[in-house]
Amino acid sequence: MGSNTIRNNPNALFMYVDMNSYFASCEQQDFKELRGKPIGVCAGNHASAAIIAPSIEAKKYGVKTGMRLNDARLICPLIKPVNGRPYRYRQIHVDIMNILKSYCPEARARSIDEAVLDLTAYRWVYPDAKELARFIKEDIKAKHDFLTCSIGIAPNSYLSKIGTELQKPDGLIEITRENIDEHFARLELTDLTGIAKANERRLKLIGINNPIEMRQASPALLRKAFGGIVGHYWYCRLNFMEIDGYENPYRSMSTGRTLSRNQRESKEKMQSLLISLCTRLEQRLVKQKVFCKEVSFYIRYKDFTSWDFNVKFTTPVQDALDIRKYVEHKIHEFENLNCLPTIFTNKTQHFGLVVKNFIEAKYVSYTLFENKMKQDKLRMVLYDIKDRFGRDKVRKATEIISPGEMVDAIGFGSVKDVQTNNYLLEE
């Protein structure tokens, strides 16, 4: 049976590990003076900086992810802003994954601070899953003494994730066929991951008012509520079937940045940032050994207007310079057509790039006129050198206009790159 199918195995067992207030705890781990204090990990420490991750102590005051620093100070005057260090969170992520893989080699990272272990094949090795969970917690503590995690155990990965939400911090909950309704009785619909206000409205419209009613609803009723197969997936999730255990290959890769006031004022800085974004995509494409056949660019302005475009390539592209040429060509076309001096105005708030439509490097055919085989090999070697000796040891001349414009940022979602890119772990 492939990993992309619905599995209804009565012996299935999953364990979900969710690190508590991960970024903030990492900071408190490294800087003991921050422990026990309300802190907020921010990108910058100006008044309007958004808090990416509040510590457990700050959460007690009501500080939430995404809150502006000056708003947070109103409810928690002692909150201390801390600049994020993405490389450090990636390093600790790798440590935790190594611990999990030592127990179950199939442990999969679901995000920078979450992982899932399919223990179905290990039931005889670990007859007591709760005991295993306690070992994992101890191992994490031994490596990073301030970090705690909530662990959920259940017959599928979704319910095990719900298990982590039931007890925080440092929780350990097992959801079984026998006790599921007992746990669900304590929850609202919106407590279920994936059910927000809009989905709650849909469910209430057809008479489902709480998680127990949702679990007991027929697949047909849930299909009606969600308007199709999504409803069936919800039926499976809440009835112990595994549908979230698929491994999805990259369909697209994206990178973007929100600009600082300083960056907004300079067209050159924005263009340097564009080069850095292209370079970041190149690095990811090289690491995944793929070329792309399509790139999208988007730019958003402070007045909520935006502009985007999509370019399809006839010849697959991997080089940052090629991606940049296509993007800049399209930008110039747009500027000329609309008689604009530049699209990078001082009203620019955010811009980014998405590459998609991938083709494996080994299937790229070479062209009649420009044989880029040598450049492609050189690019691979370049990234090997960066991996072995550090990312700043060697750079392409095209990326050195102002490489510091792109501040490292952490992706909450995909962490596939962390496993392949050693230099993402560098400071």
Partner: protein, 373 residues
């Protein structure tokens, strides 16, 4: 200005030139047809600033010469929904009002000033030659499919016309394949070449008569002009150097494979269905006089194999090509048999027609896919 014209003949003439009008234009006048009446001759013009196309037609009861721009979209829609009948145009050039009356009703639209319409480029310092309409259509058909859409390589987004004293050669490439089509029945006064964009060639292909009527072709540094008795087209040439295509045509491809064209194409189409959708890779496994086509898509566990007999003179080899590109090329060839000249699995294969018309010579080149064989 007033004239009477049959609705269907006007629609037909407008359809000849309407393809020139671009869907998103900056100037509103570029969404219009220019109507020019002189005596009983009505000249209709469409332009997108790069290409200008003009068609002439005779009208009845013409009264007063004049010029006006009429919005194309509404006029075409109206004509398409009107059964064949005479219709009268009453045009007031002062207030730019146009009244169209037919037996069933009266319709009014507003036009734009004719003077705002772009001027046709002056055909100065041109070199002229003639060729038959059917020969130009055939040349376009044989090459246009291989033109690239890559805006960063502008030279490849058009067809290269290469003039020689005894021949005219048309070349198109998208960097993965190349088509060279030579007409030996056209003589040009000078040697040289220019690149014509895709759009005007598409227009010519759709509007020129498929007969032996002669066309006047003239060109200068910036424009190409094509005309016959009632139709004329001028277009801006692509201002970029066409790649040195002769350097990439292998001169020594010693292994020759001859095969029935129709059988090869249909087998290729069938096997191609089972190929990976990203690469469309089909492997040609040549073993003596037997050719096996195979394709697979590992992601979906698809696999296809088919064997054909062929005449082969060379070492046994396996070579892979993009089936979609190959089908397009074989489809644009003629004759019952084709010849594939090969050397190694990593070098381009040359496709030729076995039976060539004495006045033409077709050569198509395709780069192989290099791995997974």
């Amino acid at each position: 200005m007033r004239f009477i014209v049959t609705s269907t003949s006007l629609l037909k003439s407008l359809q000849h030139i309407s393809g020139v009008i671009s869907s998103n234009t900056v100037l509103s006048v570029l969404e219009d047809f220019l109507f020019e009446l002189q005596g009983n001759t009505l000249t209709l013009t469409a332009s997108d600033l790069e290409t200008m196309m003009r068609v002439k037609m005779e009208v009845n009861e013409a009264n007063g010469d004049g010029r006006i721009c009429i919005p194309s979209k509404i006029l075409m829609e109206y004509l398409k929904n009107l059964p064949e009948q005479p219709m009268t145009f009453n045009i007031n050039e002062q207030d730019l009002s146009i009244e169209m009356s037919s037996s069933v009703g009266k319709y009014k639209i507003g036009g734009e000033k004719a003077d705002d319409f772009p001027k046709e480029p002056a055909p100065s310092d041109t070199t002229n030659f003639t060729m038959s309409s059917i020969a130009l259509i055939e040349s376009i058909n044989k090459t246009l499919f291989a033109v690239s859409n890559d805006s960063l390589r502008p030279a490849m987004t058009g067809v290269y016309f290469e003039m020689n004293e005894n021949s005219l050669t048309f070349v198109a490439t998208d960097a993965h394949r190349l088509v060279q089509f030579q007409r030996k029945d056209v003589s040009c006064p000078t040697t040289g070449g220019f690149v014509v964009p895709k759009k005007p060639l598409q227009q010519l292909k759709g509007t020129l008569p498929s007969d032996d009527s002669q066309l006047e072709l003239s060109y200068n540094n910036s424009h190409l002009f094509v005309s016959n008795n009632h139709l004329s087209l001028s277009c801006r040439l692509i201002d970029a150097r066409f790649p040195d295509y002769k350097a990439v045509i292998p001169i020594d491809n010693p292994y020759k494979l001859t095969i029935n064209r129709a059988d090869f194409m249909s087998a290729l189409r069938r096997v191609g269905i089972f190929a990976n959708k990203t690469t469309n890779q089909v492997v040609l496994d040549i073993n003596g006089n037997s050719l096996q086509l195979s394709a697979q898509d590992i992601d979906f566990s698809y696999e296809g194999k088919e064997s054909l007999s062929c005449q082969y003179n060379g070492e046994d080899m396996k070579i892979a090509f993009n089936s979609k590109l190959m089908v397009e090329m074989v489809n644009n060839m003629q004759g019952s048999e084709l010849q594939l000249d090969l050397s190694t699995p990593t070098r381009a294969g040359i496709f030729r027609q076995v039976e060539q018309d004495e006045n033409e010579d077709v050569l198509m080149l395709l780069m192989p896919l290099m791995v997974g064989i």
